[in-house]
Symmetry: C2
Subunit: 238 residues, 2 copies
DNA sequence: TCTCGTTTGTGGACCGAGTCCAACAATTGC
DNA sequence: GCAATTGTTGGACTCGGTCCACAAACGAGA
């Protein structure tokens, strides 16, 4: 039933991620993600409801299985560009890495998260799981670019990361909704991120003169956070 | 207690959003957002727990009160640029509108959502509420730009919207974490979105030649969605 | 004054995702 | 057979959120 494992003490697993994924895929087709409870998934897989959480952190993880696998290749794709030394080269590297990752998605591999999006309404689960994944990539790209900027310009690193990944995400959304004639994902991503990369490449190519001016404006903000100011300032109230 | 209202049939309200906001602000300061239950908030405001939902859709709405108020001004700010006729002018208009909206946030007005972010861990509530708000602005900007592109190029409209709003959001995050010397939000947003706007302005200035090539690549995708292909393709499984 | 229609509040039942844990089950190695 | 290890289970619980029967409060009209 589950994958054979090397012999070692302890009870063997009676289930697997793949089994739960398969059960959930059937149920999502039959009755959508939102119409499917964890109890139903585990019943179909023949395990208890509590066992689900031995395999997945949350129900919404089921929406992102292929995306997570794809995104897991992004660090390695960036590492192939480890030789990128300056900020403009880093922008190039990110562009190439994103294209490489998106090349793994053919027309028939639309992730559940994208197909279920409009069926789900505003349950919040998809949004929460989407943004946490998105921000993990933002952190990755921000670090990659920041490490090659030779500066403390966290603002532009982070802004670039969010902009380029946002554009890529927009491309994925348009691609998913495009229907049978959609083709591969990569051209969509390429078209979407090109202007962003051009903008930031150009920013860095203008180089030290204007870049320094911008940092001067923001420098008081970047020098560090003050813990006492971190306490809320009735920011949510009048 | 609550605001006086014009006479009309029906029971008067015994509470208000402002009362609940105030109660919640006190509790968030004392014990964080995550450490505060709706029951505690309503007890402090002197109403029943179920009444909370007569005033707020969700607990997380409390995190976004000022942001929602600020974002509510974005449509009007865009409308002031109604004369923007072409796509490059639309990019300018979006840039100006975002700067205008961000100008409303001084150094002492950091929204709860941004101050509570790192205290909250990965509960999902903040992410869900953040992304739903973000996507509402994406839709707004996409429509604004798309209506001035004179084209059906949904990909570049949407990619621009997500990129520029992503960059703006990154700026807000850096600003929030910057501490007492942060100053106003607007310069951060300005620095963050300038390269994005430049990239897309340049894309449109190159105009019909290259723009058409890109659309040709994506055209099969854009011509419309096929309902039958909208059904999931085991995208979340192997 | 009484009745009716309307609006708002309440308590409680319920749902589902997610957490936690004691008890039990299954396996290996000695 | 026993100890150690790992996995499963059922059930109790939390909390955000939904729903509803009933009650409270009001203005308008008879």
């Amino acid at each position: 039933m589950p994958d054979p494992e090397p012999k070692r003490a302890g009870r063997p697993r009676g289930s697997s991620r793949a089994m739960l994924e398969e059960a959930s895929a059937e149920l999502f087709l039959e009755q959508t993600y939102a119409g499917t409870t964890i109890f139903q998934i585990t019943c179909r897989a023949g395990v208890s409801r509590a066992t689900f959480f031995n395999y997945f952190t949350a129900k919404s993880d089921l929406l992102w299985v292929d995306v997570d696998a794809g995104l897991a290749t992004l660090p390695a794709a960036l590492d192939q560009c480890a030789a990128a030394a300056g900020p403009a080269e880093a922008v190039d590297a990110v562009e190439r890495a994103l294209l490489q990752v998106s090349a793994a998605f053919g027309p028939g591999q639309v992730p559940w998260a994208l197909t279920q999006y409009e069926l789900m309404g505003t349950t919040g689960e998809l949004e929460a799981s989407a943004l946490s994944r998105f921000m993990a990539q933002v952190t990755l790209v921000t670090r990659f670019v920041g490490a090659r900027g030779g500066s403390t310009d966290q603002l532009s690193s982070r802004a670039f990361a969010m902009a380029v990944l946002g554009a890529a995400a927009a491309a994925a959304g348009v691609w998913a909704r495009a229907g049978v004639t959609r083709g591969a994902l990569e051209p969509y991503v390429g078209a979407a991120i090109a202007p962003v990369c051009m903008g930031y490449r150009s920013l860095h190519a203008r180089g030290r003169t204007q870049g320094r001016i911008e940092q001067h404006d923001c420098d008081p903000a970047i020098t560090g956070e003050s813990s006492e100011e971190r306490q809320p300032l009735r920011g949510g109230s009048q």
